[in-house]
């Protein structure tokens, strides 16, 4: 019912609100004193509150970095948990300032929803998880299976495409939240659970016997997960984009949370421009010149965030793979700050 009410409220907001979304977001965030960030309702490694209500995750760090750049305080973020099906309406209506919620960047979302998509903070692809005892080695053997998935996702569409293209039969059971989906799979309602591959590893931890399940090798789609904001506010878009690029650049230059203060004395012009000891790059996007210093000081660089949340230093232990820096064979590449 809450979701229905929210959808209605969003509809009403469109009808009644007189304002538009042009170049207002930064001022709104500053006067409010807190960044409102649309996040997952609970996906380990990406965005999840712990028992004390502290949010952690790769997406959460992205939001904290934006807050750090604006306020010099990474805690000035209010995380608004959104289900997959409510997330875009919440962003469109201004309930959140930015959406960093493992959201796939697609053409229709970019062009028809009144949204802008930004840098990809995680390159993902959709996969399948099944029970080991079914003795299945490939997704091509899934004909006749019933599949649990979350509605309002690209997952739902890729799934239909995959089975249609391969002429396999299946039965879909779609749920509104990821929790309900994984619970139904755990209860045996479905043979297959499908979501982004990173999500499969994260959700597997929630199962009663995680070791009884395997992730199939096929990746059936491209899922570039990134940040989204309202169309038309280019200044705000610049802030969101360059926050991620600053974190990637910092990793490239070896600037970490621990050594950032020392790096202020660096003579490397790239580092000087990043940390604001040379040039006025921060002012150009409506922030202070030490914006990137604040990000790295409070949150760290991209590699640190990756390790801590989804990589070797986390429970998920996902390899960097395509999310490594471009210089190390991955896809993470930041335009130069100059």
């Amino acid at each position: 019912m809450k979701k229905v009410l929210m959808s209605v409220a969003v509809g009403a907001a469109f009808v009644m609100a007189a304002g538009s979304a042009s170049a207002q977001t930064l001022n709104q965030v500053k006067s409010r004193g807190v960044l409102q960030c649309g996040s997952n309702t609970g996906l380990a490694g990406f965005g999840q509150p712990d028992a004390q209500g502290n949010w952690t995750g790769l997406d959460v760090d992205y939001c904290r970095a934006i807050a750090a750049a604006i306020f010099n305080d990474a805690t000035k973020v209010k995380f608004v948990p959104l289900s997959a099906k409510d997330r875009f309406t919440a962003l469109q209506s201004g309930e959140v300032d930015v959406l960093v919620r493992n959201t796939t960047w697609t053409m229709s979302r970019d062009t028809q929803l009144g949204l802008e998509f930004g840098p990809v903070n995680y390159y993902d692809g959709q996969g399948f998880m099944v029970r080991k005892k079914l003795k299945i080695a490939s997704a091509m053997e899934l004909s006749g299976a019933s599949v649990c998935t979350q509605q309002g996702t690209t997952t739902e569409l890729n799934l239909a495409d995959f089975f249609r293209a391969n002429k396999l039969k299946y039965e879909v059971v779609a749920f509104a939240s990821s929790d309900e989906t994984i619970k139904a799979y755990d209860a045996g309602r479905c043979d297959v659970f499908t979501t982004d591959a990173s999500g499969l590893y994260a959700e597997r931890l929630k199962l009663t016997a995680p070791d009884d399940h395997i992730v199939l090798p096929e990746i059936i789609s491209k899922e570039p997960l990134g940040a989204a904001w309202r169309h038309g506010d280019n200044q705000w878009g610049d802030i969101v984009k360059w926050t991620h690029y600053a974190m990637v650049t910092a990793e490239e230059l070896g600037v970490t949370k621990a050594n950032v203060d020392e790096m202020l004395k660096s003579t490397n012009p790239d580092v000087k421009r990043l940390l604001g000891t040379e040039g006025k790059f921060g002012e150009a996007i409506g922030l202070t010149n030490d914006w990137a210093y604040r990000i790295i000081k409070h949150v760290g660089n991209y590699g640190e965030s990756f390790d801590r949340n989804v990589g070797a230093g986390s429970r998920l232990k996902i390899a960097r793979g395509v999310n490594a820096l471009w210089s190390k064979g991955g896809l993470q590449y930041a335009p130069p700050i100059r």
Partner: protein
Amino acid sequence: MSSVDAPKMGGTGGDEKPRVAFWNDPEKRGYLFQALLFVVVGYLVYAAASNAIDNLTKQKIATGFGFWNNTAGFDIGQRLIPYETTSSYGRAFWVGLVNTLLVASIGIVFATMLGFIIGVARLSKNFLVNKLAAIYVEVIRNTPLLLQLLFWYNAVLKALPEVRDSVAMPGGFFLNNRGLFMPEPVFGASFSWVTWALAAGLMGYFAYGRWARKKQERTGQQSPVLLVGLGLVIAVPLLVYFAAGQPLSFNIPDLGRFNIRGGVQVFPEFVALLLGLVIYTAAFIAEVVRAGIQAVSKGQTEAAYALGLRPGPTLDLVVIPQAMRVIIPPLTSQYLNLTKNSSLAVAVGYPDLVQVFMGTVLNQTGQAVEVIAITMAVYLTISLFTSLVMNWYNSRKALVER
């Protein structure tokens, strides 16, 4: 004095109207206010609509109903009408609507039956029956429906075996955590004869029943209505069925690699939602029924007993018909509640209108205003139609004062 004057004054007022300014004439003033209200409401609607369109265009959000014919691209588990991934969003809407109507209509029938039984049981003189019914009503009525739905869904799923350990029941029925699988009837070409025979049998049964009732009213003699009725409704179509060469076969489900193949599948999501709605609404209907029966004066029962009627016929012939007058109006609102509550289907993954249309379609198209407006209009239409039927039924049952 005044009582003598009053009619006189009224008389003169009626003959020639006093000339007053129109703002002093309550009737004309009334029209003015109504017209003003109409203009204000009309303007508000217009302003809201144009404002919404303006905002949506500014934010570059697609508007209009053009999405209706676009390819949906997603799948729906339970579909009663043909639907494929390549069907349109409009088709998905109809699939969802049919699913909503299915669960609501079956739910209304079962909730009414269960509600009447519990309601009568609450008035039973048997201590155990009475208290059990009271506990049922209080427990069910005082816990949230959403919680109950989740309980039933998990209870249904957990209690059922996996596909490999399906409970095979005689006649080709299978039960597992994917649902209940039943043989699917396959109708032969000449099966229409059997349908016609059944229709004719039913008509014959009603005609005979009418005739028998009239005869009883006239002479007091009873006729074997049940026996003749069974003969007409069952024996006649059966005879035709064999005469036409048994034009009916069954597609028996059997165990496939993952799932059961063939047959008709009843999904656990549907069962859970139906159970939840029926059990929840029945508790309210039980209270409505109890109140209705208690509204019938005790003297009616006593009079019936005095005439020698046994408790059963007393309830059937004397109490319930009078109680119905009190029961029907609140019963109508319970029916409306059940229909609207079926939108909680989204919690248990049943693809109803809200789940399919306001969930997936809204999210894929991003057109919140249009989709929500359509959904609200649909629920409004269903509710108004239900009210219309129930009001018609109520006017037939209402006390006709002579």
